[in-house]
Symmetry: C2
Subunit: 342 residues, 2 copies
Amino acid sequence: METEETSKHATISIVAKKAGVSTTTISRYLNEKYEYMSLKTRRRIEAVIDELNYRPSNIARGLKSKKTNQIGVIVADIENPFSSMMMKGVNDVCNRRNYHMLILNTDNSQKSEEEGVLSLIDHNVDALLINPTGYSSSIYAELKNNDLPVVLIDRQIEHPFFDLVTSNNYDVTYQATAYLIKNNYSRIYFVTENIDSISTRSIRKKAVEDALREKGLDHDQCLMTIDKNNTLDIKEKLMKIKRLHGNEKIALFAVNGQILLVVLQMLHELRLSIPSEIGIYGYDDWGWGELISPGITVIQQDPYGMGIKAAELLIDRLEGKRKGKSEVFELPANLIIRGSTD
Amino acid sequence: METEETSKHATISIVAKKAGVSTTTISRYLNEKYEYMSLKTRRRIEAVIDELNYRPSNIARGLKSKKTNQIGVIVADIENPFSSMMMKGVNDVCNRRNYHMLILNTDNSQKSEEEGVLSLIDHNVDALLINPTGYSSSIYAELKNNDLPVVLIDRQIEHPFFDLVTSNNYDVTYQATAYLIKNNYSRIYFVTENIDSISTRSIRKKAVEDALREKGLDHDQCLMTIDKNNTLDIKEKLMKIKRLHGNEKIALFAVNGQILLVVLQMLHELRLSIPSEIGIYGYDDWGWGELISPGITVIQQDPYGMGIKAAELLIDRLEGKRKGKSEVFELPANLIIRGSTD
DNA sequence: CTCTTTTGTGAAAACGCTATAATATAAAAG
DNA sequence: CTTTTATATTATAGCGTTTTCACAAAAGAG
């Protein structure tokens, strides 16, 4: 029955005093440097720590040791399910390997991205996991000269300085498009938002174009830019295409899950029936693609796996378990063929 | 053209030396205490900081000032779109008010939740925003004695110590159920996962039961527990119900978006047509509920708004802009009636 | 002109740890 | 027995800030 009146938060020196040893010894205990420590001392320290409910301050540790056990995570669009699943992967690895995530959302803004990097550095994160906006930025050149480990996820940057974990975007998009072409679709439109960055977008676009070109199909005019909040323009454009090429099989390719939803919504409103009047396929349906009738043909990525891989890589770099040149890892995405492209 | 050979990271004392003032003065400048500072000194400091590209170390600041400008966020299921949207709201407020989020995912595990709280405290976060698992835990009583501001989001805990931001779960669920009953549904089953916690679940369940009871309908056996990975049992149960009560209008209520998807999938597999053979409604469709035919009747919450509100509240508490007893804020959720409950 | 007040600045201690180097004791070796 | 080696522990000096208190110079008051 101890009196706990003045039980302020315990510090290392309070513990040291109570245990009758120096703070150095406590520190060594905390860092598991048991080499030259008598079992007796060790047990004594254990007991006192337990009794006082002492937990070392990470911030003080960080100041001295230059290690915060925090990794900075910069994500381009936090409310995208793709990002959530990635982050879950990162989180799981962090838990396992005893790190914490300091997360920043950039909303696909280059400025936020640059500020975010600086800000996380100010917070002394041990490493940086970035899902870039895709805009080119000088910050990366600076980062390269820093000794802070950096791993990119999903999107590549202008100059490939760092490890990158992404999907096999080109191959699987090509494969999907080739499937449609084989299925007699002769006009395929690549639907995307009006963003002038985002490397995966251009890779996917190239894959679609290449597939079209290699089969001798029209690929010059295949880009359709969509505004999520105002689909009027694109509706008109689509109806015009239908008029001009009504005798051909037409399909839309949605560059990501959110666009896919918008496009489906639009087709719904236009009362175009899938697939008889128009085909549709795209990236990432997050589970609902199967419930719609007909089911939607999608390319399903593995964001959770990407998060895992990227975080493992990053912490390996950080802990010196991996050295050498940066690499690119492409995780396989899955083409799921359903009725929307019959 | 300065030589930058030894340009290690600038510290406050390097800046001080270069500017010909004391670190105290630099510190005052950094903290915008311009009261008794000559304009000349101020400009001089500005120039040097600029030249050296100096950025103060948050970790050192934190050690001394006990303020890290980090808020700890504990989320029960990071890959749920509901959580992502909440976190986007939190993130936006943090950006605006100059805080960072340290995010932890608990996967609805009580143990992770408790560890997470302790761990975030070790990291000296300034405040805690918690989306609880819903399991009761002694950690909250301890937290209460701490002076760390805490705000809960979505789910209440056993003893309502802290501010809570949530939806008007009871009212809107009751309203939705009443609508179905008015629409002649006489058997409504509450479908949920087998989790023995989660306060919103029980509130929603009570609302469904109350609505049934008050109309004199059967409400004792309305709970259906589902296993996401094995829907066999529940399929059998459902078919049995259909056999027994084939002459009545039957509906399922899905307690959240993920269950809603699973249930829809199941009905799809059972080839039960909606709504002629079975009605369905539930929480949170995240945009796809409209695309399915028929559209799904859903209760749409405002997780983004909840994130905003909770973060504002938390930072207000933290900065002393709000005092007094804890409150509960219920943001209105939206009942969207579509064809699945005709 | 002195005395008080206002204005502007700095010395030094502290925050809670870790790291370096030094010291004390015990055991082994010569 | 000394000397060396192995074992166990500590004193001290930071890490990069903020804070308290003291102090000097300038301005105002009597």
